[in-house]
């Protein structure tokens, strides 16, 4: 028989820290769900028009969207890079003083670039399911704006667990990459790179 191990010596349970609680995430998460559901339900119920207001300088709406999304991806990569530096994950690089400014402004620009794209998607094309690419894109589109809303609202609350912001930021970035691959990348591959 194996040696008899006694129960571990009783120790005081770790003190609960209500302030560093993930409960603070509940309201942002609910708002994010509301955003995602609103986009999806509207996109499904509204009968797509096929056209929306044009973005100046491009031959058509689809090309404009593909380029805006590509630009957003570039800024999103800056987002991930700058956050890695801020969290000290890049060896040998200490965070310069301007890194948080870079992080904020690249994020703002990336987000603003996605807004004309989502308006065109939801208004002109709607939430569609006619093949796997389109279904994945529709779902990821709703989830991205939900996740982004949660991230923005989470930033305003102090005392959340440390994993919250990296997880939300990573989630938003991953969803944006999925969106880009199922739309702009597909578009350039199918129809060629054009302006």
């Amino acid at each position: 028989m194996a040696a008899q191990w006694g129960p571990p010596a009783p120790s005081r349970p770790a003190p609960i820290q209500p302030d560093r609680s993930a409960r603070l995430l509940v309201v942002p998460a609910l708002v994010g769900c509301l955003v995602a559901l609103t986009l999806g339900i509207y996109g499904r119920l509204h009968s797509p028009t096929g056209v929306a207001v044009d973005v100046i300088g491009f031959s058509n709406g689809a090309t404009a969207k593909a380029w805006l999304a590509t630009a957003a991806i570039v800024f999103a990569v800056v987002q991930v890079g700058s956050s890695l530096v801020m969290y000290g994950k890049v060896r040998g690089v200490s965070a310069p003083s301007w890194i948080s400014g870079l992080h904020r402004w690249s994020g703002r620009i990336a987000f603003i670039l996605t807004v004309p794209v989502v308006v065109h998607c939801v208004y002109a094309l709607g939430f569609q399911t006619f093949n796997a690419r389109v279904l994945v894109h529709s779902i990821a589109g709703c989830l991205f704006f939900g996740a982004f809303t949660v991230k923005m609202l989470a930033l305003t609350r102090r005392g959340m667990p440390g994993w919250v912001l990296p997880v939300l930021g990573g989630l938003a970035f991953a969803l944006l990459v999925v969106l880009w691959f199922t739309s702009a990348f597909w578009f350039f591959q199918t129809f060629g790179v054009s302006k």
Binding site: G50, A52, R104, G107, V115, T149, T156, G192
Partner: protein, 243 residues
């Protein structure tokens, strides 16, 4: 009270979305109104329909005449003077493309191999009745955004309900003379970017046979058929190309 900056970011995004949204609604309803007026004018004076048939005329030419208040588009649908419709027929037995340009319409049905037909017809108040070789027929009702109807090729009737598309989706055609025979190929590029095409090696024959067309390169508009390079041109409702 100071608003946190991430919330400002969200507010700016929502405001931009709202303004784009409302300008889209305005743009679309303005387009619908213009089309409805053009349709009303065309119905009010049938003579105007023939005048817009010239390739240089645009659909808005008809709108310069005053619209009759009694006539509007049928059943509340808006009949566009220019439209490209493409889609698969029910049962996935091929695809169909319909291109309406003022008072002409060209349609193409093909299943990517031996069954295909080119059809022509004259639109009338949102309805089309088209005919082609081998007793092919197509009837459709169309409106802003969609078209539905039946196409009959080689004695088989296919029902379709298809959507309006913009370039690069649409209908493409290539006509070339190869060793004395007229080679005519057609491609339908669907809204999802996939394409289906058939090729008639001798299209001037009364009952042309068809085979699978080589893949059309959308960016260069060429296809390689053996040692022959086929150059395609779009049959496009907006520009009137191919009419």
């Amino acid at each position: 009270m100071r608003i946190p900056t991430p919330v400002i970011t969200l507010i700016v995004g929502v405001a931009l979305a709202a303004s784009l949204f409302f300008s889209s609604m305005t743009a679309v309803s303005a387009k619908k109104a213009a089309l409805a007026q053009a349709a009303a004018t065309a119905t009010a004076s049938p003579a105007a329909t023939t005048s817009v048939a010239s390739p240089t005329a645009t659909g808005s030419a008809a709108a310069t005449a005053s619209a009759s208040p009694s006539s509007s588009s049928t059943l509340g649908f808006v009949i566009p003077p220019h439209a490209n419709y493409v889609g698969k027929v029910q049962g996935n037995a091929g695809s169909v493309a319909i291109v309406v340009h003022d008072s002409f319409a060209i349609a193409y049905y093909c299943n990517g191999s031996t069954q295909e037909a080119w059809l022509r017809g004259t639109p009338h108040n949102g309805k089309l009745s088209m005919t082609g070789k081998n007793n092919a027929t197509l009837t459709t009702d169309y409106a802003l955004g969609h078209a539905r109807g039946t196409v009959t090729v080689d004695g088989i009737a296919h029902v379709f309900s298809i959507i309006a598309v913009h370039k690069p989706s649409g209908l493409y055609q290539s006509i070339a003379t190869v060793r004395g025979a007229t080679v005519k190929a057609g491609w339908i590029v669907l809204a999802d970017g996939s394409q289906v095409g058939s090729l008639e090696p001798d299209s001037t024959s009364a009952t042309p046979a068809a085979q699978t067309a080589p893949k059309l390169d959308i960016s260069s508009l060429t296809a390689q058929d053996g040692d022959t390079t086929l150059t395609a041109k779009p049959i496009d409702a907006e520009t009137g190309s191919g009419f």
